[in-house]
Symmetry: C2
Subunit: 239 residues, 2 copies
């Protein structure tokens, strides 16, 4: 990195034009669809108040301050937009096509985050912030449609579903709730019996002795996510 043996001066020193760095975040929450009652993925977008793409919806984000870490900038952006804290935050990809922003060269480091479903319900929604169903977005500013598409792909092909599902839920949950999250993300029904066995075998959940009563059927046992299960391989170089 920096210069190699064919030594160049810093672009700042030679005063050349250079790219500008931005950080954006794709924020997913799980909410029941207004009509179908099924849990689906939603994400908040902000309306552009200036050119380019004035009036269009875009991912929350901003320029990277020189004294702020990348992940911190993503988390801050998330907080400023939704008043929420991420339960999961990971770098997605860096988009830097020359023509992705008219006129200026902008390179965007994009993160993706998961937030709690119930909490997202009462999240700040104003004139310039709105939640959209992830599968039916309007035309977005910049290359953000492509960005969201890639984030969805990553979410759905992630191996560690357990950690993702946990991010969407509370600290304790029934296996039915956990299964519902998996089904929403994977977009297919799962066999309750087999799901139970595979979860218990994976060791990513711990059974408690508590149960939830009140429904007109056998009470479901509550489970807790096992933090130690995340100690497998580094999905992020840092960890």
């Amino acid at each position: 990195m920096l210069d190699h043996h064919l030594t160049e001066q810093s672009p700042l020193e030679r005063g050349s034009t250079q790219a500008t760095l931005a950080v954006s975040t794709v924020i997913f929450a799980l909410r029941p669809d207004d009509e179908s009652r099924l849990m689906t993925l939603w994400l908040p977008l902000v309306r552009r108040t200036r050119d380019p793409f004035l009036g269009l919806w875009a991912l929350p984000g901003g320029w990277l301050p020189a004294d702020e870490e990348l992940a911190s900038a993503a988390a801050r952006t998330l907080r400023e937009t939704t008043d929420l804290s991420p339960r999961y935050l990971e770098q997605l990809y860096t988009f830097g096509d020359i023509d992705r922003s008219p006129g200026v060269r902008v390179v965007s480091v994009v993160y993706w985050a998961l937030v709690r479903s119930e909490v997202a319900e009462r999240a700040s929604v104003g004139e310039n912030v709105r939640w959209f169903a992830a599968d039916s977005l309007p035309l977005l500013a910049f290359d953000h449609n492509r960005v969201v598409e890639y984030a969805l792909w990553r979410l759905r092909t992630k191996v560690e579903y357990a950690r993702i599902a946990h991010a969407f839920l509370g600290d304790t949950f029934t296996l039915a709730q956990l299964r519902e999250v998996h089904e929403a993300v994977l977009q297919k029904a799962l066999d309750p019996a087999n799901f139970r066995r595979s979860m218990e075998a994976s060791g990513s959940v711990i059974s408690t002795n508590q149960h939830v009563a009140g429904a007109r059927h056998r009470p479901a046992r509550l489970y807790r996510y096992d933090e130690r299960a995340a100690e497998h391989d580094p999905p992020e170089p840092t960890l």
Copy 2:
């Protein structure tokens, strides 16, 4: 991206300090170890000719020109360092810790690449460029030890071994050669019989009618990589 509803001016406009963008590449080749005869992973490093970390070895890279695509910059860097063209090139991660470069804020978009083994043999090696065994590197400049470690992890946990192995080989290859690549990357021996079946079942290789004679055993059939097999899911948002 860019500014959101809490509108900020561009950092350029307000003249604030901002991070500088660099692109680096981890370049892997497969070469027989000098002693053990076994195929192992090697990568080229360049010696720093200026501060910081003067004299230490570092990944090839450079500042990002405002008019060059990220992947192009990575490929150019690779060519300038090794006189080689990448057979595989993919974005790895973006490293941006505040303190990773003393004094200045540098954000590095890192790519990883694979090059042909035989070709890497006669690759340019000078005073300031040298190939190292990937598993026993010296102390590198910046956070490059961590970067290489992450690149190795990504290489070894990639699902599409077929495409990776193909990048290391020529257009046609025997299953023994293909197996040797897999064994080197995965660092474990594979059963020849089972390997053959799993490869043929995967559909990622196509059998030709050519054979290689000359060895004092039954001639091995040559195979060809099936490009169509890569049409599964987008590992890169672009493709």
